[in-house]
Amino acid sequence: MRRWKWLALVAAAGVLASAAAAFGATAHSTAGSTLVVDNSFTIKTSDPQRAFDPTGSLIDRALYDTLFTYKGGDLSNPIPLLVSSWKASNGAKTFTFQLKKNVHFADGTPLTSKDVVFSFERLVNIKGNPAFLLAGVTVKATGPYTVVMTSTTPDTELPAILANPSTGIVNSKLVMAHGGTDAANASTADKAENWLNTPASAGAGSGPYVLKSYSTTSQIVLAPNTKYWGPKKPAFSTVVVRNMIATTQLINVQRGTHEIAIDLSADQAQTLKGNKKLNVSLQPSTWVFWLFANNDPKVSTVTSNEQWQQAVRYGLDYKSILSVAGPGAIQAPGLIPSMFLGSLPQKDDAVQNVAKAKAALAASGLGGQQVTLQYPSDLTINGVPFTTMAEKVQANLQAIGFNIQLSGSPTSNWLTTYRNGQMAFGLSLWGPDYPDPADYLTFAPGQLVGLRAGWAKGADPAIEKLAAKALVTTNAAQRKAIYQQYQHDLNESGPYFPLMQPTQVFVSTSDLKGAVYNAEYDVDVTQISPK
């Protein structure tokens, strides 16, 4: 009999506990819910002035406000965030920004022009990956809420650059107190990075969320900034950004509530068709895959041969390459992606011409020469594994008569060879640093990517002159014409072979409002709220 009594007690306790749990759950959802973002992590740091990778941007957008930002997914039009008014003068070389006066950091310190100057100078002087964003730009405060920026060259893209999370404004006083500096020697003297990567740095930003826990391998958790200055308070009590591969994201997002998956491939997205709980969007991504053949005879006498390059250009079966990326992908007629000013129309797509390719290869006399195509074997972009792409390219070229070997290596090793300009034949890609075609002038001879492809300064004066002109032209119609001409010239005589833009898939559960893909931040979590 005693045993029965015990059992009854246990059962009663169980009922009570489950009732409490159920009550707790409902109470929780009214108090504010959790937003989960599934992402395959690319993040080295959350220090805005050092970070320059997609996951870093996603996180820093929520922690640090920038002078400008975007509404939803529209990148063509930067809108003021910390700025109340601004004007450009002196042929787009001088910009004057008036800051909003009601902004304060998460610890209550008002945000002033001093913090803006500190953040921008810290960005430049740390000399990290994003430092180039403000290269050649000087910044000074002419009043507590007035900032003047002067550029040596016309800088039409400055508002777009100032929407990049790397230009996020940090609390100068607090960051300096924790080892930060904006001095010229900041690259070695600045010691604030580790502190910024901990929840202790909560007062460093003015964004709607603060860091609650941080790991570059498992997950990053954000909590609301209770003192947020903006009119719209943070909508979630917790934002969890989890590191997981696309196949796991596919499973999770179907089970989740308030969940977002940003790395699914187009083929995976197809399997979600008709699922009413999910919003699935497919659009061309801003990434562009391209091949390059090193133009430096010292690196390879084969790939630098003009006829050999022509043979590659005509020999590639662009349609079959596109099929690797699945539905929604488009062929890239040029290096500038389709959504940017100056991109080439689809009718300018390169077309395979087997006869021309074989003729050019015969003329080069190098068909039998073995060339190694190098690619990052562990990298998958928008669900397109580089390995699969490389295998496709190899099959295409072998059919023409090329002798191509594949060599995959980890991305870090691949990057080293690529950046040294020592890679003879490579499969690569470019994603915009800021949404402006000026970012693609880096492909010109003697510029960053040009040098990687063995294309030295002076190798093609006509293209270099055009690139220089593109940089100083401010009229939108003229810019468009120049950038299109620039790409036509690159396609004709450059060492690049644009292949395709993969599909950007964005999946969110339909219980979210404002969840859209944004090419700059992947997703702007500050604009999302539960329905």
Binding site: V324, K392, A395
Partner: protein, 293 residues
Amino acid sequence: MSSLAYALRARPRASWIPAAWRQPLAIVGIVIAAAWIVIAIFAPLIAPDDPLAQTFTPAAGPSWHHLFGTDELGRDVFSRVISGSRVSLPIAVTLVALAATIGSIVGAVAGYFRGVVDGILMRSTDLVFAFPPIILAMVVAAVLGRGLFNAALAIVVVAWPSYARVVRGLVLSVGDSEYVQSARLLGASSRRTLVRDVLPNVAGPVFVLATLDLANAILLLSGLSFLGLGAQPPKAEWGSMVAEGTQYFQWWWIGTFPGLAIFTVVLAFNFLGDSLRDVFDPRTARRDAEVEP
């Protein structure tokens, strides 16, 4: 003893089949292993298509035309699995033979000469044993550079010490036996005693170990290829095919069939090795004898 048992025992036994091989698992192992060896030998005749030809509709599920479906590049998965046997099996056999040879020599020398030689050789095997095999193989393959050849080398590096240990132990015990002592007293050289008298008596256990190791080698090779350190694309190798399959979970057949190939081969060689051990193990043989009243 029941009458049934008597009836069974009354039937004449095919005495040329060792008792242990009459276990069902052994037969399963032999059949599967033999099937894979035949497939590997005649792969080009069995495979319906070129394993590298990207000519079919990509990512089509299994059908009569493509028994195992096609992969993301439109290659026939069945043909790739078949031709994958020509990568894994010969390499595994070669490297196990190589590891067994190296290990046996080291073990025999250590066990026969004893003393300082033994100390040096056995401490070096301990050094290799100190690391988990897959980690050590990864390090070696990564240092040598990616590729099938280097991956095979890496497996030899991790595989030889177990042979050294087994052979050393056996040589130690055989070396103390009377017939070896007599041979020495009669003036036989160290080399002659080792090769003629000692090694033949160690061959059985080494053979068993090698059969079991075959399974390990295939698994390790596939593992290295899965991690991108072994076979390079577009080569049809089971491990790298499974790795490609993980990118496309929604098309389950791309990774599942090469995975099943690895599974069956490894299982078969494990069964085979287990039965061989029973054959060579005197204790099992005695147990067999004890059944007789």
